[in-house]
């Protein structure tokens, strides 16, 4: 049985922030474009569109990815978490509280990427060292803060996550 070559509008079904979502995506569209332009999930940002800045970070099947370097059609059947799914009806995620209280953002463009990336870290390791945090977040660029407050906020959030557990 020969495999079909898909072009034009392709039906993609994925689980995004816990909901099953259907969308029509062209193969040339990135997952970032599908999220932002078709699903109105504009939390993930386009910084560089080539994998270097992390502003587009989402968690796909449990793994941190740069959604500008994923095709939307590749998301068929995948489970995706975006910044929009990080807070719960009960309130902000500890990372979001910690970012606010530690003044870890200025313009905020990089913040969704940092929070999603940091969440992927804390999901895997709720007790990271400062070195772990800096290494893990090396692919997230921030033009404003100088990074230090972001690193402090992630370490603070890790403490809160451990206290809740």
């Amino acid at each position: 049985m020969a495999t079909e070559l898909k072009s034009g509008k392709v039906h993609v079904q994925a689980t995004i922030n816990g909901e099953i979502v259907d969308v029509l995506a062209e193969p040339r569209e990135s997952l970032l474009e599908v999220l932002r332009d078709h699903l109105e999930l504009t939390g993930a940002k386009e910084g560089c569109n080539n994998g270097n800045c992390g502003a587009c970070n989402v968690i796909m099947d449990g793994r941190l990815v740069n959604s500008c370097c994923v095709l939307g059609v590749e998301a068929a059947g995948a489970t995706i978490e975006t910044i929009e799914g990080v807070a719960s009806p009960a309130g902000l995620h500890p990372l979001q509280d910690a970012f606010l209280e530690n003044a870890a953002l200025q313009c905020g463009v990089c913040t969704p990427g940092f929070i999603v990336a940091a969440k992927a870290l804390l999901d895997e390791n709720p007790n990271p060292t400062e070195y772990d945090v800096r290494w893990w977040l090396a692919g997230n660029l921030c033009r404003c803060t100088g990074y230090d407050k972001i690193v402090r906020a992630v370490l603070d959030a890790a403490e809160r996550v451990r206290a809740e557990a």
Binding site: M1, A2, T3, E4, L5, K6, S7, V10, E26, P27, R28, E29, S30, N49, N50, G51, N52, G54, N57, M60, R63, L64, V65, N66, C69, V70, L71, V73, E74, A76, A117, A120, L121, W135, W136, L137, A138, G139, N140
Partner: protein, 295 residues
């Protein structure tokens, strides 16, 4: 991005027939961290992307009864460093997997994609070479095996012919008393392309080296296997004098260019220093320790 077509075959044969039918306009898509960016930026003239990740042979990592590992071409870096058995058996490959791009890049980037992109600075390629990895290739004419050191032919080019794809890499069983290390020089600590990279593998018999391999990145049009450096170490003691002599051979073998990342002289000197450090790290691991320079 210009319009493209996408296929997600579930068998190697199906992927081969799509690649063969569309010729150079079709490219495999593993993690996409090279190819998606290259197509978007018109650096690769491809308009059919063939997803590797629905083909079981390309996504599995298996170890047979003799300890021989088969690493599917599309397995991402992230899976390798989270696999304790793989990390213990092939530390240089994991050293490289940990420094490719960022955590987000490593969530998708594969070793097979790094090899097939065939960049002179591809970090996993020297690590594969020192571990004597072999490429399992399938195509319209059947299957063949090529040593990793013979795979890349020029910047961005390799031995894959029309319709051929990389299915997996075969890695020899690890043996007691062996160790390996890969490291690179970049101007910052992460997220950059190697100015020079060096990988080394050592097999020790007591304090004597019984087998050795050295390979370099970013000092030639392709990743470079420095066979003579490894050969010179065989029978020698695992000490600084031996490592310096081998590093000298690596420096002589390097034929780098001047570019924005570094000069010829700088790269020559780095070939020496990094080979020495890779050998020290490999020896430390062979003796049950770890390299002193972290990653």
């Amino acid at each position: 991005m210009r319009a493209i077509q996408y296929a997600a075959p579930t068998t190697v044969d199906d992927a081969v027939s799509i690649l063969a039918e569309h010729g150079p306009r079709a490219r495999m898509l593993a993690g996409g961290t090279d190819i998606i960016v290259q197509v978007r930026e018109d650096a690769r003239d491809a308009d059919v992307l063939v997803d590797a990740k629905h083909i079981p042979e390309l996504t599995s990592l298996t170890v047979d009864a003799d300890g021989v590992t088969t690493l599917g071409a599309a397995v991402p870096c992230y899976e390798l460093y989270n696999d304790a058995q793989f990390a213990a058996a092939y530390p240089a490959i994991v050293d490289a997997a940990r420094i490719i791009g960022s955590t987000g890049i490593q969530g998708r980037a594969s070793v097979g994609g790094n090899l097939c992109n065939s960049g002179p600075a591809g970090d996993t390629i020297p690590a594969l070479i020192v571990h004597t990895a072999a490429c399992n290739i399938s195509g319209p004419g059947g299957a063949r095996q090529v040593a990793v050191e013979d795979f890349c032919t020029a910047p961005g080019r390799n031995v894959l012919g029309n319709g051929e794809l990389l299915v997996s890499l075969t890695l020899p069983a690890p043996s007691a008393g062996s160790g390996s290390h890969y490291l690179r020089f970049i101007p910052r600590n992460e997220m950059d392309i190697a100015v020079v990279g060096a990988g080394a593998f050592l097999q020790l018999d007591g304090d004597t080296i019984s087998a050795a391999r050295v390979a370099l990145a970013a000092v030639a049009p392709t990743p470079l296997f420095v066979r003579e450096a490894g050969d010179a170490l065989v029978g020698a003691p695992a000490d600084e004098a031996s490592f310096a002599a081998a590093a000298d051979l690596a420096r002589s073998a390097a034929s780098p260019i001047d570019d924005m990342r570094g000069t010829v002289a700088h790269r020559k000197q780095l070939s020496y220093v990094l080979t020495q450090r890779a050998l020290r790290g490999a020896a430390a691991r062979a003796q049950g320790g770890s390299p002193s320079n972290g990653h």
